[in-house]
């Protein structure tokens, strides 16, 4: 790490500590009630209590299963539909108005319907996550599969390559940076969608836990859950980025990700 970088890292840590310290001081000085804004120390106590009781484990597992299952299903559908649309401009003109209309619709508004159709269990959440995760993949796959350079296609054609060979050996690898950029966006949205879907109606999960704590005015507990969710979100993002670095090792467009 260069001296400048180290100084910036130290500054960043100091900024966080300063905000927490001011927060603690303000809460104590003005005697802010804990059910409005809890002091950071109270949040840490709640976090410790929650971790010790093991209450997060089952709820987090529930939410992660919803988020990851929806993420995989939504991304796969986006990948396949995107590949079909990228191949056929005709299909694009037929389908795209509906795809855009679907995307423009605030999908959280369907959540009550999904619960009616699929119940309070895991599947209504998986469906919600899949609908949210689908779109970034669709758009990026179409862009990525079309971004392949003309000469590579000419090269493959000069070798009498079949369309499937062109797809597998050239188009898909060229689209990988775009696909990973979509995965990176989708993974963070998936967690968000799972939580929001749980708010609408659920029996377990981190969103469920937040609602419960809210009802019992355990605001420090809510803050503790938020900390855990943000740590999990960053971890999922890092998993995608690290996987991308490994898969797209030739380094093209690595800068397309890395920002959430």
């Amino acid at each position: 790490m260069s001296p400048a970088r180290r100084r910036e890292a130290v500054l960043s840590a100091l900024l966080g500590l300063a905000v927490v310290a001011v927060w603690e001081l303000v809460v104590r000085a003005f005697a802010v009630p804990a059910y409005v804004v809890p002091a950071p120390t109270a949040v840490i106590v709640a976090l410790g209590r929650g971790l010790a009781s093991g209450v997060y484990v089952t709820h987090l597992a529930y939410t992660l299963v919803e988020a990851l299952a929806g993420f995989v299903i939504g991304s796969l559908i986006g990948l396949m539909l995107g590949a079909a649309i990228a191949r056929s401009p005709g299909l694009e003109r037929v389908l795209y108005p509906y795809v855009v209309g679907f995307q423009a619709m605030p999908k959280i508004a369907i959540a009550p319907l999904l619960i009616m159709w699929l119940g309070f269990g895991i599947w209504s959440k998986v469906a919600m996550v899949a609908m949210i995760a689908f779109f970034p993949m669709l758009v990026n796959v179409i862009t990525g599969l079309r971004a392949v350079d003309r000469d590579s296609i000419d090269l493959m054609r000069s070798l009498s390559a079949s369309e499937w060979q062109v797809f597998r050996m050239v188009r898909l690898p060229y689209a990988l940076p775009y696909i990973f950029a979509a995965l990176d966006i989708a993974i963070v949205f998936s967690l968000l969608a799972a939580i929001v879907a749980e708010f609408v109606g659920s029996q377990a999960g981190m969103g469920h836990l937040i609602l419960q704590m809210n009802f019992s005015l355990d605001v420090a507990g809510v803050f503790a859950v938020l900390i855990i969710l943000s740590v999990v979100g960053v971890a999922l993002h890092l998993v995608v980025v690290k996987t991308q670095r490994r898969v797209v090792f030739w380094g093209e467009s690595n800068d397309m990700t890395g920002k959430m």
């Binding site: 350079d149 000469d151 590579s152 493959m156 054609r157 000069s158």
Partner: protein
């Protein structure tokens, strides 16, 4: 022998008038010849090359190779593009082996040939490197090895050295001549550079700007094998000046210098 007869190519334009790229092109290339196509940008040189390669279909006219009409890409043709066009996720060796893989040929038997080709190109130590670890000249050598892997009788090269610096380019020209004289392949070579065309070719085809027509075909009677010293020969200069004047004055009204006139009379 490659025969091009009355070839016309018109591109349907996205907007406005369709673009005429080639207008009545006639050309014969004998087996083992090295023929260069020179002409201004957009004169349809690359289009002509891609039609010969079977990548484009001409609007009208015929291309035949050894008497058979070209209807699509063929194993007898190796193509080298303006850029190296290497797949960045494949190693040098895997890139050279791409044609073998795509055509589902026996990879084991071609493996040795690929290694030998890389050795000829001075790249044997780089077979397991990735393209981004190579210089531009090395990348283009890999793409030539890829074009040669199936031992095609014909090599079509579309401004293959245009992106290289002058020094690398001269080295590549010498290497190409060495490969050509060692293998007896038929080469059609598109270039912007008159010097390069004269240095490499047995004949130079001068084309006019859009629509592309054959203005002149000039024999290059410089002795083979050629070295860089050939560029200093008076005949070399005369040929280069003649080709330049043909390019500048367009369709056939150029006052040709005497030496080049004799060349034309002979052909």
């Amino acid at each position: 022998m490659i025969e091009v007869r009355d070839l016309n190519m018109t591109y349907p334009a996205a907007s406005g008038r369709p673009v005429r790229a080639l207008d009545g092109v006639d050309l014969e290339v004998r087996r083992g010849e090295f023929v260069s196509l020179v002409g201004p940008s957009g004169c349809g040189k690359s289009t002509l090359l891609k039609i010969i390669a079977g990548l484009f279909r001409a609007t009208s006219g015929v291309v035949s190779i050894d008497g058979r009409h070209v209807a699509g890409p063929s194993r007898d043709i190796g193509m080298v593009f303006q850029g190296p066009v290497l797949l960045p996720w494949r190693t040098v060796l895997q890139n050279v082996m791409l044609p073998v893989e795509v055509r589902r040929l026996d990879e084991v038997s071609f493996h040795e040939r690929a290694q030998a080709l890389l050795a000829t190109m001075g790249l044997e130590e780089f077979h397991d490197r990735y393209p981004y670890e190579l210089s531009g000249g090395m990348q283009q050598r890999v793409s030539i090895a890829r074009a040669l892997i199936q031992d095609p009788a014909i090599l079509l090269m579309d401004e293959p050295f245009a992106a290289l610096d002058a020094m690398t380019r001269e080295g590549m020209n010498l290497e190409l001549l060495r490969i050509w004289s060692g293998t007896g392949k038929t080469v059609i070579f598109v270039t912007h550079s008159i010097i390069e065309a004269v240095f490499l070719s047995s004949r130079v085809v001068v084309m006019s700007s859009r629509p592309g027509r054959v203005l002149d075909i000039i024999d290059v009677d410089l002795p083979m094998p050629r070295t860089l010293d050939a560029m200093g020969a008076p005949e070399f200069g005369r040929l280069a000046v003649h080709i330049r004047s043909r390019l500048e004055h367009g369709a056939g009204d150029a006052p040709a210098p005497a030496a080049a006139d004799r060349t034309e009379a002979r052909s």
